[in-house]
């Protein structure tokens, strides 16, 4: 049986005016690393708060470890770990005090489950007498993860753990998640960074409260409906405008040092585009067919 199941969850705010979650259903299997990928305001946090029994849905049902999020909320709270998007530890307690506080609340000790957090905790241990409020962003994140793990939860909910974190720390954080997965903890993680989708086993792409796709990242990419080309030249800004002028261009977006282009009616048109661009005085254009990224898929699904 799946560890986390949502069925037709609907959540609105402001007396029904704001639709935060629109009829969302999905399941996360035991031991899976599942990613909820979408921008701010997509409904990710509402879903997390419903699953962690902190918020009631308007309608629909959800279970965690087979327990109902409404009826069995006490049981669920004992079994899950939750790291909210906003840093929520006690700023005026030290690193060690925070950790031992959370261990005590869950009726356990730091020693009992130390093996689970050891890899992460040793990195912040030199600062164990520092108050949590005085830690750097990266250290806060590691402490919050330790506190969410100290009672050995079966399901871990991580709401945007890498938001505002630099590229190096983000990579390190995902390494930590992989090691936790090896300990058979089910992980549901949300992120607005599309590149992190590839590090999950399965993902749900979410926008405006609705799921656009649920699958493995590889399958989502293979379902990209058209051929995708990268186009680049020495004058990227002007190139973007001119590619969009080409009548057969279906979409064109900047992706770092290249523009990603699709053509209408699935035609193979890069050569005609090159001819067109020559009439616009682009002579150094390079184009090649590429594999889409999750961000390409997300943009395509947003249409």
């Amino acid at each position: 049986m799946a560890d986390v199941i949502l069925k037709n969850i609907i959540k609105t705010y402001n007396k029904g005016e704001t639709h935060a979650v629109n009829d969302v259903s999905f399941a996360v299997e035991k031991g899976e690393l599942f990613g909820l990928i979408g921008p701010d305001g997509a409904g990710k946090t509402s879903i997390f708060r419903i699953l962690t029994t902190l918020l009631l849905a308007d309608s629909g049902t959800a279970t965690v470890n087979g327990f109902d999020v409404v009826k069995d909320y006490r049981t669920i709270r004992n079994q899950i770990g939750y790291m909210p998007g906003k840093f929520s530890l006690y700023q005026d307690l030290t690193v060690e005090e925070n950790l031992s506080f959370f261990a005590t609340v869950f009726n356990t000790t730091i020693e009992e489950n130390y093996d689970l957090i050891k890899d992460i905790y040793v990195q912040i241990e030199p600062f164990k007498t520092r108050r949590a409020g005085k830690l750097s962003g990266g250290m806060k994140q590691k402490l919050a993860l330790c506190c969410a793990l100290i009672h050995r939860p079966t399901v871990l909910f991580l709401d945007e753990p890498t938001t505002g974190v630099d590229a190096v720390s983000r990579k390190e954080f995902w390494e930590m998640l992989k090691r936790l997965k090896a300990q058979e903890i089910t992980i549901l993680v949300s992120t607005p960074y599309m590149d992190e989708a590839m590090l999950c086993e399965r993902i749900a792409l979410i926008q405006n409260g609705s799921l656009m796709s649920i699958d493995t990242p590889e399958n989502i990419i293979s379902h990209f409906p058209q051929k995708l080309y990268s186009v680049r030249s020495g004058q990227m800004s002007r190139l973007l405008t001119d590619i969009r002028q080409f009548p057969e261009t279906a979409s064109c977006f900047s992706f770092g040092d290249a523009h990603h282009v699709t053509f209408s009616e699935n035609k193979n048109l890069p050569h005609e585009l090159m001819t067109f661009l020559k009439t616009k005085n682009h002579y150094d254009v390079e184009t090649k067919e590429i594999t889409p990224t999750i961000e390409d898929c997300f943009i395509d699904l947003m249409k």
Partner: protein
């Protein structure tokens, strides 16, 4: 390039007690340039930015912003720059027009000009119908685009953008960069921080801060060449990996 220098620093330093947050950074930014200010968490970006905006007094070194000195002319600096961050920019409980009018007023713009320009702005942004709606009711992407337009409403020489696209959907993120390009073309210098490495590619030049110092500064193409990297992500990783403060 023969364009004017609008930001110029020489050994600019900020110490807090025995901790040197920003350690002798020296660089120039030219008019109309899109300058990416990158670095790991804790590298000193925010502290450096606060000095450049006239919000924090340097411990030593020199800097001029739009021609004004960061020690003696901080009020003049504030008048000549715009600022926007992901966290705070607009008043949620004021309408779109009220926000524009408020910021225009703060920067001492003439009432008549504010009136005509704000009508132009809401039309340009396609927000004419929502002009009297509270900012709270706008989707995040729109808020960020509006916040940027408000930050450059008084035609500053430089606009400082602190992670302006964090958490924004992929299409809006790109539309936001269209606005940045348009501002740069009008001669406004753009000084921007981001955690999205694809956005680093959209900058004319980039500086990479590590442990309080600028470890590299060049165009994205040259940086990639210099570090033998395929993309900016790799450049960033090579530079920031060795950071001592980054924990």
């Amino acid at each position: 390039m023969e364009t004017a220098t609008v930001i110029s620093t020489e050994k600019l330093t900020k110490r807090f007690g025995d901790f040197t947050a920003v350690n002798e950074i020296t660089f120039d930014v030219h008019q109309g340039e899109i300058f990416g200010f990158l670095g790991a968490n804790g590298a000193g970006k925010t502290t450096a930015m606060r000095m450049l905006c006239g919000l924090s007094n340097p411990s030593s070194g020199k800097a001029t912003i739009a021609g004004f000195d960061v020690y003696r002319q901080t009020e003049k600096i504030k008048k000549n720059i715009g600022y926007m961050s992901q966290k705070f920019s607009l008043y949620e409980d004021l309408t779109i027009l009220e926000n524009i009018r408020f910021y225009g007023g703060i920067y001492g713009m003439n009432r008549k000009i504010i009136k005509t320009k704000s009508v132009e702005l809401v039309e340009q942004l396609g927000l004419k119908e929502e002009a009297s709606a509270l900012v709270r009711s706008l989707p995040l992407g729109w808020k960020q685009k509006l916040a940027f337009s408000v930050a450059i409403f008084h035609e500053p020489k430089i606009v400082f953008l602190d992670e302006p696209t964090g958490g924004v959907d992929p299409v809006t993120r790109r539309q936001f960069w269209d606005l940045i390009y348009a501002a740069a073309e009008r001669g406004i210098t753009v000084f921007v921080t981001t955690h999205y490495m694809d956005e680093a590619e959209y900058c004319n030049r980039i500086s990479m801060m590590v442990d309080g110092t600028i470890k590299a500064l060049d165009s994205p193409a040259n940086l990639k060449k210099q570090f033998g990297a395929n993309n900016m992500d790799e450049v960033f990783y090579q530079l920031a990996r060795g950071a001592k403060r980054n924990t």
